[in-house]
Amino acid sequence: MSIRLLITLYLVFAAPAAQAISLITNAADARQSHAQNPGDVSTDPSWQPYSPLLKYDEAQFWYSVKVTVRHDAGEIISNPLALSVRLNGVYDFYWDGELIGSNKYQSKSANQFSRVFIPVIGLEEGEHHLRVHVHALGMRAGDSSDMRITIAALKSNFFGVHPTVVSTFFLATATLFLAAYLIATRRSGGQRPGTTAAIIFSISMALAVLLEEGRFLFKYPYSWQPPLDALQPPFALLFFALLPWFILTRMNFPNRLWWMAVAPLSIAASMIDIGAVEQHIRAFFIVSAALLVISLIGWQRGYNNAKFFAWGLGVAFFALLLDPVKGHIFLIVIIILVASDLALDIRRQSKDAVRLQIMSERLRADLIKRNVQPHFLMNSLTALMEWVETSPNDAVQFIDGLAQEFRILADFSDRRSVSLKEELSLCNIHIALMGQRLTSQLALDTDGVNVDQQVPPALFHTLIENAFSHNDYRALEARFSLSQQTTEGGTLFRLSVPVVHPRESDQNAGLGTRYIEARLEEFCGSSFRFQSQLVGSSWVSEVTFKKV
């Protein structure tokens, strides 16, 4: 077994006041004894090499290891160091035979005290003996005692609470709050790409942290700890899978599944035992480094948010260097990164929602305005006056059609989409009215259309109105045609109108086209394509609703 107590990194980064002290143990020297009160390690035969597997339920045993303290020259020891143990139970710490700490009794909480101070006076350079008397409460025969003695620097306390407890509490609260906020946002229609992954990721992180560190926050029976420990790996795996997925999704990275290889690779790499650094910390290093590289690639390719993630992951990587033992600062940076990215996106979405609302109101006003467009309305009323005086039956027929058209347009003005059946009804009424006014034979043919398909209101009506504005259909026969094609890319509508004595101006310009594009944007965001061009003797407008 390799050296497990080399924690120079920790001392360098987290406990600068004591940075010149190294405490070195060789796990191969670790011994255990099941005697009631064993003697010296070198003479008492009850001392055996340490085995992590417990021999019986709630075993009591002694653990012993040699600790070498090394000082740098001239260093003044002023900051107390502490030992921490990762074991459920009751235990007493003896430093060179002196009791230096104990949790003394069976508590309601597993590992109520996991840290004990090493007296400064006991830290003279050289070899020392550490013994721990352990009663592994709540653990069964065959369980791994995972008896790891690590050095912790009690650098400072926060209102009497160890910083690890503070960071655990902060992490758990922040991640759960983020998850709750994202769930609420999602339910209120604020679903953004990666939101679901972020929710599961946040909950997984909260649970993994609580399962790891919850013993410092909550009191529960010793017997709960082993099953709680067993619950950790799935949440940790979710963390390592969903963090890359979230970042790749937010950047809209192509071939995301291929790039997701970073997750199993980082986990697999963390399994390789390289000694000093904890497995999960190694996994953090690997996953954050890999994601940083991916973000830089995305930044170089100009992907969404890639610059933001590159900076954020750079900070996270640095945070991991600052706190390579617990990784809490890293996790805090990661959760802030995820929350900030989504918060910025939700803010953008809110702004977009306001803009869309304004656009929607404007479109509604446009539709109403087009109802009373002078050219159409006043010419219609003039024609009506003529019919009233010369041909009352025509007047009645025209008024009836006009009333139907206005009724439908009034109904459409409050809606963001209508069925094609409703749209075609409006178009046919308009064509009939114009045919009567222009003394022409006009009709709209349809081919392969799905009348249940939803479309923006007055979409084709506007295109047909444009056709009347730009062409001279007086006293002739003309046929408009609308076809629908469904392809892998989406649904294509093609409206063809005959060109007869066209205006010199471009038919694709003006209020009508702007209205159509705004309506399409309101209807399906940017997932549409609209183009209009002269094809032979027809003006063909194509609207494609892309599959999302």
Binding site: T382, L384, M385, W387, T390, H470, H501
Partner: protein, 243 residues
């Protein structure tokens, strides 16, 4: 006096209504009535026939309303606009149309507009402030205030501008007077003078009078028009007041 009417309208029912009501209103005064559904036909009819009055829709398929306004007010005939776009009425009057009839229109409203062809002096329409001249390259638009005076030349008029240049207008002096009387005074059967350009009125031997203009030129005043000119100048130092 009978006259020739041209209806330029692309809406069949509206054209039919204009034709029916005009014939009804004008009766014997209407000599010939032409109808054009588009600008090309209208141009052709104007070239082939003597047209006195044009009823013009500003929103013809294939045409820009502003271009139509410039082109038709530069013609010899008077123009009455019949349009749904009432927002263009002021612009139309600036170019010297006789009237602007908004659609839809009744018989009475059309009759009132047509009456202005004979009695334009009773019009309450604003005076023209822009004058469109037919030119070889298209239409030139000149501000009415830049014209010193018009001189009648047969059926046409010759405009002398403040910058010294001369332009020909296809409208007769009488028709120009119809649309410019608010700021011009008819000092002679052959002259229509910008009021603000008149420096003084000078009497000559033999009961003759002349107008001295700002640019140093002098124009004769008709014996029968001296009172009219004096009244006009007395009304306002810079404008003629319309009578």
């Amino acid at each position: 006096m009978s006259f020739n009417l041209l209806i330029v309208e692309d809406e069949p029912l509206v054209a039919k209504r204009l034709s029916r009501l005009s014939a009804d209103i004008l009766g014997d005064k209407l000599s010939v009535q032409h109808s054009a559904p588009d600008v090309a036909t209208a141009r052709s009819l104007i070239t082939e026939h003597t047209i006195d009055l044009i009823l013009l829709d500003l929103n013809l398929v294939g045409s820009d309303g502003f271009d139509l306004l410039k082109e038709f007010t530069a013609k010899a005939a008077h123009t009455i606009i019949v349009s749904a776009e009432t927002s263009r009425a002021l612009e139309a009057f600036e170019f010297g149309v006789l009237d602007f009839v908004p659609k839809p229109f009744t018989r009475e409203r059309l009759a009132k507009a047509l009456a202005r062809f004979w009695k334009p002096e009773f019009t309450d329409a604003p005076a023209a402030s822009q004058i469109a001249f037919e030119a070889s390259g298209g239409i030139d638009v000149v501000s009415a205030s830049d014209v010193l005076y018009f001189r009648g030349a047969d059926k046409y008029s010759e405009a002398t501008l403040k910058n010294g240049s001369v332009k020909f207008h296809t409208k007769s002096l009488n028709r120009l007077e119809d649309i410019l009387s608010a700021s011009f005074v008819r000092s002679h059967k052959s002259y229509l003078v910008q009021c603000s350009a008149i420096k003084s009125l000078r009497s000559l031997e033999g009961s003759r009078y002349e107008l001295d203009l700002d640019d140093g030129n002098s124009l004769p005043i008709g014996r029968t028009r001296i009172d009219h000119v004096r009244r006009a100048l007395a009304n306002n130092d810079t404008a003629c007041g319309g009578q």
